[in-house]
């Protein structure tokens, strides 16, 4: 395959993935918008007014970046895990396996599909947020960098989950029992400085904490963690999981007999 053919192959997977989630936008794009709007109304407006400011920001403004990133994490992960597992379940993954498309392009295509859903959902949630707040974004470049790296990381994680999954139950275990708790405990709704010292130390083991804080810094200019450490952690996990996913694909684990 020459570079032009590889580009066509990658583009095909991305278009296919994009059309897949856009076709069912009522299940993929709309729910995060509604959920986030409810968070803003309940936590931001009703409860938030009782809490007061955090680090000089209104509670509503404080939770906006975390809520956007939570939607991105959930949707990037969910897109790839459900799409790739469905392809395995229906055996349509064989269409890719018999073709000469290299494994790194298969993985990249699915990851970019996940990022695409992350972007669309991120934009929708940000638009919803704008009805409740009027934040001036602190750093567009940093916000976008963290946004892409996080969407990429959780798309790869979704891919790995799909490779190992043997039933539809297996694709909901990680999001329910790992992803959601880590996201909620990652400082979306609070600053870890509000926690006792012991729980602060525990929180620092949670990688999602760094992503949310880095994104919050890009959005409103405040963070609980060191920015360089946060970016390094996100990049490190991206490289680690991408390498692992490639290893799984090359070995054919979960997809080849």
């Amino acid at each position: 395959m020459n570079w032009s053919a590889k580009y066509t192959a990658l583009k095909t997977i991305i278009i296919k993935e994009y059309l897949r989630f856009i076709r069912i936008w009522m299940q993929t794009v709309l729910p995060p918008a509604i959920t986030t709007a409810l968070y803003f109304v309940i936590f931001g407006n009703l409860i938030g007014s009782q809490i007061g400011d955090i680090d000089g920001y209104k509670y509503m403004d404080y939770i906006v970046p975390g809520l956007i990133l939570m939607a991105v994490i959930t949707n990037a992960y969910g897109n790839v895990v459900s799409s790739f597992y469905s392809a395995k379940f229906q055996k349509s993954v064989e269409e890719l396996l018999v073709s000469p498309i290299p494994n790194y392009l298969i993985l990249s295509g699915y990851v970019m599909g996940g990022i695409a859903r992350g972007i669309i959902v991120g934009i929708v949630v940000t638009v919803v947020a704008m009805f409740f707040t009027d934040i001036e974004i602190h750093s567009y470049s940093l916000s976008l960098l963290v946004f892409f790296l996080t969407a990429s990381l959780f798309s790869i994680a979704g891919f790995i989950n799909a490779v190992y999954a043997n039933s539809f139950d297996d694709i909901s275990i990680i999001p329910t029992f790992v992803l959601t708790p880590l996201t909620y405990l990652g400082g979306i709704f609070y600053s870890i400085e509000m926690l006792p010292e012991f729980w602060q130390s525990i929180s620092l083991v949670n990688p999602i904490l760094y992503m949310i804080n880095a994104f919050r810094y890009g959005f409103i200019g405040i963070t609980d963690t060191d920015l360089n450490v946060a970016i390094s952690i996100i990049v490190f996990f991206n490289i680690l999981l991408f390498s692992y996913a490639m290893h799984l694909l090359n070995k054919g684990i979960g997809i080849r007999q």
């Binding site: 055996k91 269409e95 080849r256």
Partner: protein, 328 residues
């Protein structure tokens, strides 16, 4: 250079099942090749390995000279696969499935759309191009998989039971289509349980059983191995006296009266069927029509598979005896 060359292909699954114990095959360019074998013989595993869906345990595969281990991209580009089971996204539209498959082979979308139109029209699916795959009938789904396998215009088309569960009319139209693309230069490997399909379409044949190649020859040479054939003769008038068949020259033939209007005759390779007809006419027995009792290839296939099984059983018994002797 062969279209496909397989040497000592072995596959042992994780559960310990040894699906292939050393398959050797070679398929000439432009051939229409039958790969036959009973259920569980290893045909689908062999095809799975050739197409990259199954990892082999040992052996060597070359596709149009490309080594499958070292030049997998080139080798895969030469192959089009029509698998046994439906393996497309049931929620995608027919045309979309073809265009996407073209994309995976690096075919730009405008060209993929052109080719999709060509093959969908040739396989009578053009009217269904906007329909979701799950809404197609079984026969249509099979044809869709053929169209999909052809979208990148492969030099080698592998069909794993493409006509399974398809009615005879569609089956015949599929045969015609496959013959046409074979005449245009595409090498075809076909596995099927309809042996008349293999006999009428294929020029060369390999039979696999218990993970080994037990026969690899031309269809003509294989059919020549048949020592006798059984025919069913339908009589013009009922025959009540069976003793006529046991007397005189007719006794030389193995004839059975199935019912008063039907005879079953087994004729040796060296005997002449004309002689039988003359003898029957002398006895005022007139034949209205006749047919082969079983497909010739089917008869041979059963003989070869049975022989292989008997040999395997004999070998097993010998091994057991040797083990007992050693213990004693």
């Amino acid at each position: 250079m062969y279209a496909l060359e397989i040497r000592d292909l072995k596959k042992t699954y994780k559960n310990g099942t040894q699906a292939l114990k050393g398959v050797d095959l070679h398929v000439e360019q432009g051939d229409f090749f039958a790969l036959l074998g009973p259920n569980g013989a290893g045909k689908s595993t062999t095809i799975g390995i050739i197409s990259g869906l199954v990892n082999k345990s040992a052996g060597e595969i070359r596709v149009f000279g490309y080594d499958f281990d070292r030049e997998q991209t080139q080798a895969k580009s030469c192959i089009g696969l029509v698998p046994q089971e439906f393996n497309f996204n049931q929620f995608e539209r027919v045309e979309e499935i073809l265009v996407n498959q073209g994309g995976y082979y690096g075919i730009p979308r405008p060209l993929a759309y052109e080719r999709a139109e060509t093959y969908l029209k040739q396989l009578a699916l053009w009217e269904k191009r906007h329909v979701m795959a799950r809404e197609l009938s079984g026969g249509m789904k099979r044809r869709l998989m053929i169209a999909r396998a052809l979208i990148h215009q492969p030099r080698l088309l592998i069909l794993d039971e493409p006509t399974a569960g398809v009615d005879i009319e569609i089956r015949r139209s599929m045969w015609q289509f496959l013959e046409k693309i074979n005449q245009q230069g595409t090498t075809i490997i076909l596995t099927t349980h309809y042996l008349e399909e293999a006999e009428s379409l294929c020029r060369n044949i390999a039979i696999i059983d218990h993970g080994c190649t037990i026969e690899h020859t031309s269809m003509k040479r294989l059919l020549n191995q048949l020592n006798n054939e059984t025919f069913i003769l339908y009589l013009q008038q009922p025959l009540t006296d069976e003793t006529i068949l046991r007397s005189g020259e007719l006794a030389k033939f193995e004839i059975q009266l199935s019912d008063e209007n039907t005879l079953e005759v087994s004729i040796d390779k060296d005997s002449h069927i004309n002689q039988l007809f003359n003898l029957l006419t002398d006895q005022q027995i007139h034949v209205l029509s006749m047919r082969n009792k079983t497909n010739r290839l089917e008869q041979l296939f059963m003989c070869l598979v049975d022989k292989n099984r008997n040999n395997a059983e004999l070998l097993e018994t010998l091994q057991q005896t040797t083990e007992v002797d050693t213990l004693l």
